[in-house]
Subunit: 333 residues, 2 copies
C-alpha cells in the first residue's frame, strides 16, 4: 500500500519552516572554534546542565558563569590596556602638573620611558593610579573612559582596544546566555574602567561587572549629590580576592569560570569546589603570530601554577593557536 500525503500551501509552508528551524538548531553555536577537546567541553557542559530530568540539571537562577577580562575576553599585551589608559591620562594631565617633569614616576613616563617609571613597583603604580583614577566624580570618570575607549588606538595593532576582544569568547558568552546563564566579569581591572563599555561590547550589564576599585565618597556639591573618587584603594579583585568578591557581590558559587592567568586560579578552584557539574577553562596564549605567545614567565598574565593545576584537575585548556579559527571579532580582521 502506497500512502499519499497531500500538502496544502499552508502545509508546505509549515514543513519549510520546520526544516529551517531544524537547520537553525543544528547551526554551530561556536563557529570560530575548531573541533577539539576545548570546544566539546563547553558544548557538552551546557548540554549536561540543561537536560531536564537529569541529575545534572541546574535551574536557571543558578547558572552563573564568571569571566576574567584581561587576556580572557580581550588582549592584554604589551601592557594591560587600563595601564595604557593611565599613561595616556598622565600625558593629558601633564600641562596642569609642571612638577611632574622632575618627579618620578611621572618624569620617566613623560619621556616615554615606561620601564623606568614602573621600576618603582607598587609605589609607582599607586602614584599613577592616584594621579589618573581619582579626584573626579564617578560621572566625570565615566566620560573620560568613554572618550578614551572611543578614540585610543593600540600601539602595535593600530586598532581601537574594543576591536581586540576575542571572537571565540564572545560566542561562548552568547551560547551560555542563550541557555539561561547570567554572565559576570570578575576582573583585576577597575570596575569603573570597564562598566562604560562592556555592556555594548560583551553584552554584560553594569550590575554584572565585578572588579578592583578605589574608595568613593558621597557628598553634596551645590545641593547636588555626587560621588567623589578618592586616591585610596578599596579592593583588589585578583587571586584570593576573586572568590571573596564573588561571594560579596553574587552571593552564590558560579558553575563555570573562565580565566587565563594565575590571578584566576582561586576563582577556578572556588568554582570547581561546588557540587555537581562544573566547567573551569583556561585560555592559553599560544599564538605568537595572530596574537601573543606567553605563559609561565610573562610579567603580564603569567600562567604557571594554574597550568599545572589545570593538568592535575583535568580543567579545559584552550590552545589559542590550535583551537581558535579567528582571534579578534570580525571588525578587526
Amino acid at each position: 500500500m502506497r500512502s499519499v500525503i497531500k500538502l496544502s500551501p499552508m502545509g508546505i509552508a509549515s514543513v519549510v519552516l520546520t526544516l529551517a528551524m531544524t537547520v537553525a538548531h543544528a547551526t554551530d553555536p561556536l563557529p570560530s572554534w575548531n573541533d577539539g577537546e576545548a570546544k566539546s567541553a563547553i558544548i557538552e557542559f551546557v548540554q549536561r546542565i540543561t537536560r531536564k530530568n537529569s541529575p545534572d540539571f541546574v535551574p536557571e537562577p543558578e547558572r552563573i558563569a564568571v569571566f576574567d577580562n584581561d587576556g580572557t575576553l580581550w588582549a592584554e599585551q604589551p601592557l594591560y590596556f587600563q595601564l595604557i589608559f593611565a599613561l595616556d591620562r598622565v600625558k593629558a594631565l601633564a600641562p596642569k602638573h609642571p612638577e611632574w617633569k622632575s618627579k618620578e614616576p611621572f618624569a620617566s613616563l613623560l619621556k616615554g620611558d615606561v620601564k623606568t617609571a614602573l621600576a618603582g613597583g607598587e609605589h609607582a603604580a599607586l602614584e599613577i593610579m592616584r594621579a589618573t583614577h581619582a579626584g573626579t566624580t564617578a560621572a566625570q570618570f565615566e566620560k573620560i573612559v568613554k572618550t578614551w575607549i572611543a578614540t585610543a588606538r593600540h600601539p602595535t595593532a593600530g586598532q581601537p582596544y574594543t576591536n581586540m576582544v576575542y571572537q571565540p569568547m564572545l560566542e561562548v558568552l552568547g551560547h551560555l546566555r542563550a541557555h539561561g546563564f547570567k554572565t559576570f566579569i570578575v576582573s583585576g581591572g577597575g570596575v569603573e574602567f570597564m562598566r562604560p563599555w562592556v555592556n555594548e561590547v560583551y553584552g554584560i550589564p553594569p550590575e554584572q561587572v565585578i572588579g578592583s576599585s578605589i574608595k568613593t565618597k558621597f557628598e553634596m556639591q551645590n545641593g547636588n549629590p555626587v560621588l567623589i573618587r578618592l586616591p585610596e584603594i578599596n579592593f583588589i579583585d585578583d587571586k584570593a580576592g576573586k572568590p571573596v568578591a564573588i561571594n560579596q557581590h553574587i552571593g552564590r558559587r558560579p558553575i563555570a569560570a573562565f580565566g587565563n592567568s594565575d590571578g584566576d586560579l582561586q576563582m577556578l578552584q572556588w568554582t570547581t569546589a561546588g557540587e555537581g557539574p562544573r566547567l573551569a577553562l583556561y585560555v592559553h596564549h599560544t599564538d605568537g603570530e595572530r596574537e601573543w605567545a606567553y605563559d609561565r614567565k610573562s610579567k603580564i598574565g603569567r600562567l604557571d601554577k594554574g597550568l599545572d593545576e589545570a593538568q592535575t584537575k583535568g580543567w579545559t585548556v584552550v590552545d589559542m593557536k590550535k583551537d581558535w579559527k579567528v582571534i579578534y571579532q570580525s571588525k578587526a580582521q
Copy 2:
C-alpha cells in the same frame, strides 16, 4: 442600514478570551493599598516610564528599583531582627565561653538585660558582632541563619520573623518586576544575614542583595577552598554608604527608591538626582495598633530629616495606618 456581525464558535471564543484578558488587566496590582496619593504615585510612575513613544519611557535594563529592608520590607521593632539573632547566638554560644559570665556586654545579655549590654554603644555592638557573626566559614554561617530564621519567633508577635514582612510592599515588588524592573535590597543589615531567606520571601536573588559586611578571607582547608568570616568590618551600608554601595554594586543610578528612615535619605537623594521621572517613597510608621508608631525620636528607624526633606521635595510618604489595608503578609494575619 443594519449591520449584522456573525460570529463563528472560534470567533466567540476569541471575544471571550479578549474580555477575560481585559478583566485581568484591570485587576488591581496593589490590592492591599487603600486608594490615595501613595498608591496613585506608584501606579502612575510605572505607567509613565513604561509608556512607549513617551519622552519619559525608560528601557527595561535601566528600570532599577532599590529597597531598604528593616522597616521598609519587614518590621524592625523592638530591635532590628538581626540584633535579636545576635543575642540568640550569644545564648547559644555561651556554654563554650564561660568567661562571658563576667565580661560585658555578654554578662548583661546573658542576664537578659539588653539595655545595659547595649549601653556600651559602638564598642559593645562590635564585640557582639565579632562573637556572633565571625569565626565560621560563609557556608556555615548560611546554615546558622537558615536554622534561626526557620525556628525563631518574634518576642511579642510570637510569629516567625519572615511572617512580619509587609504585604503591601510585596505587592510593590511584584508590580515593579511585572513591568521589567530589577529589584535590589540596599540595607544596613548584613548581606550574609539576608541572602539565605530573601529570595524565597521577597523573590530577590542573592546577586541583587546589597548590605553591610564583614571581611572574609579565602583559604585552603585540607585541599578544600573556604571563605572564613573575619571579626572586622568591611563596609557599613547605611546613610552616605548607600549611594556608594549602589554605585559599587549596581553601577547605574536607580529610578525608584524605597526607605523608611534617615538612614535611607542619601539613597533617596541619589536616586532622585538623576534625569527623567523618579520615584522616592518613605514608609512612615504611623500604626501603633497593627504595628508600631515611631518616627522623629525613635532609636530604631528614626525618620526625622527624611520626613522634612520628603515634604520639601514632594516625595511620596506612606501613612501605614491610612494607606495600608493589611500590614503583614496573609500567613501572619
